[in-house]
């Protein structure tokens, strides 16, 4: 099963790191194939940043996302530039505090930045919350793989904070589970 996941938000939210972690989870810990790409450069600064991951069971040849089926959108501009055109059968997680519009596809609202600030005191981990929610809601990678990938990717000393964020993400996505 091929998944094409698109992340977007503004610079500083860790959009690219999110994609890297997801790709790593799939490729290194779930033993599937993953290719991660991103939009670079100054035009992407200030404005919306974007990053994508393809996850597949067979080797990935054509490496570019054709039609994402999963979205993680963390800013209004990101939504406008990279989320608006989502196809109706896609699933989109949005940071509900930062994105004002809503897509036509399946939409899961996660108040990640707000929760990061209020519950964990650090809005910097909002992206990890979103990742947790993404995995909980879609199972695109296994929860264990995600956890391992997070541990392998975040700065020393912040592991606990990030795992908390991940678990918070799990919880926010499946509120009553």
């Amino acid at each position: 099963m091929r998944h094409e996941v698109r992340f977007s938000g503004f610079g500083g939210q860790g959009i690219i790191l999110s994609a890297v972690i997801l790709g790593r989870a799939a490729a290194l810990y779930d033993n599937r194939y993953a290719v991660q790409t991103q939009v670079y450069g100054p035009e992407a600064r200030g404005g919306a940043s974007m990053s994508q991951v393809i996850i597949d069971d067979e080797p990935i040849l054509f490496p570019k996302v054709k039609k994402p089926n999963l979205f993680v959108i963390m800013s209004q501009e990101g939504f406008e530039k990279y989320g608006k055109t989502a196809s109706p059968d896609a699933t989109m997680l949005i940071d509900s505090g930062l994105v004002h519009d809503r897509p036509e596809c399946i939409c899961i609202e996660i108040p990640a930045t707000r929760e990061a600030k209020t519950q964990l005191g650090r809005d910097i981990v909002a992206n990890i919350i979103m990742l947790g929610s993404l995995v909980a809601a879609t199972g695109v990678v296994s929860a264990q793989a995600l956890e391992q990938a997070i541990l392998a990717s975040v700065p020393k000393g912040t592991e606990e904070l990030n795992l908390k964020a991940m678990r918070l993400g799990f919880a926010l996505a499946v509120p009553e589970a």
């Binding site: 100054p42 600064r45 200030g46 404005g47």
Partner: protein, 262 residues
């Protein structure tokens, strides 16, 4: 008034929140505006870098050239038509890394240009590599263990190379900077104004000035007025974490490209 000089259809610009480049643009436009310059006789030239994007936001003829070469292009513009006012925006990397040779030669020839260097100690545009002005010990993506090379003192270099006007300020010193640009423009020959400024994204982030305000505070606190220091220091060396601001030279060596009336 200054707003006339801007290409409003391109704003907001691509600079990160709190980037010093926008401030420096303001001061330069304020200066040319105070001098009553005509937009149609003014040309802005730049190389490549965040700083070098500035001319693209200004409503005049402009030349956004290749990395490091702004002064060579500007020399062509000015020497071919000395009646144009030619100003150059450049970065520490653009001016003093790849462009160092054009820099010293433009100083030597004393081409009648006004050059404003946005010295943020880093290559901002490419994401934060060390530059020839990165202070010893500071981290960047290419100096992960701290910069080990001595940085240039750009103002001193310009003086030794022959420029007629040389000054240094920071993006905090907006009024002094504006005045220096005016003074530089009014001095025939090559005028060089170095402006130390904040890059919160590429430099600040790795060196404890992630917030623009913290960076501005650092600039304000490290800057020492040259005049005052010269008077009081009795020849001691400035502590390495400080730098001098003020006018370094104003003189009248033979210059090139000075319009006839000037």
């Amino acid at each position: 008034m200054r707003d006339d000089w801007l290409r409003a259809d391109r704003l907001p610009h691509i600079y990160c929140a709190g980037c010093g480049n926008g401030t420096i643009m303001n001061c330069v436009l304020e200066a040319v505006d105070q001098l009553g310059w005509n937009m149609d006789e003014t040309v802005f030239v730049s190389g490549i870098g965040c700083s070098s994007r500035a001319p693209g936001y200004i409503r005049t003829d402009s030349l956004h050239t290749t990395h490091g070469r702004a002064l060579a292009f500007a020399t062509g513009v000015k020497m071919a038509n000395p009646s144009l006012h030619v100003l150059v925006f450049t970065g520490d990397g653009d001016l003093s890394a790849i462009g160092g040779n054009h820099f010293i030669h433009a100083c030597r020839r004393n081409i009648d240009l006004t050059v404003v260097c946005m010295n943020n100690y880093i290559y901002g545009m490419t994401g934060g590599q060390g530059s020839p002005t990165t202070p010893i010990g500071k981290t960047s993506t290419t100096t992960p263990y701290g910069a080990a090379e001595m940085p240039f003192d750009l103002a001193e270099l310009a003086v030794a190379a022959g420029a007629n006007y040389v000054a240094r300020w920071t993006s905090y010193h907006v009024t002094e900077l504006t005045k220096a640009v005016v003074a530089g423009i009014q001095t025939p020959g090559f005028s060089f104004i170095e402006v130390r400024c904040q890059c919160p994204t590429s430099y600040g982030r790795r060196n404890k000035y992630r917030q623009p305000g913290d960076f501005i505070t650092y600039l304000r606190e490290s800057a020492v007025l040259k005049d005052r220091w010269d008077r009081s220091s009795a020849g001691e060396e400035l502590p390495s974490e400080k730098f001098l601001i003020g006018e370094f030279v104003r003189r009248s060596r033979p210059a090139m490209g000075v319009p006839d009336e000037a």
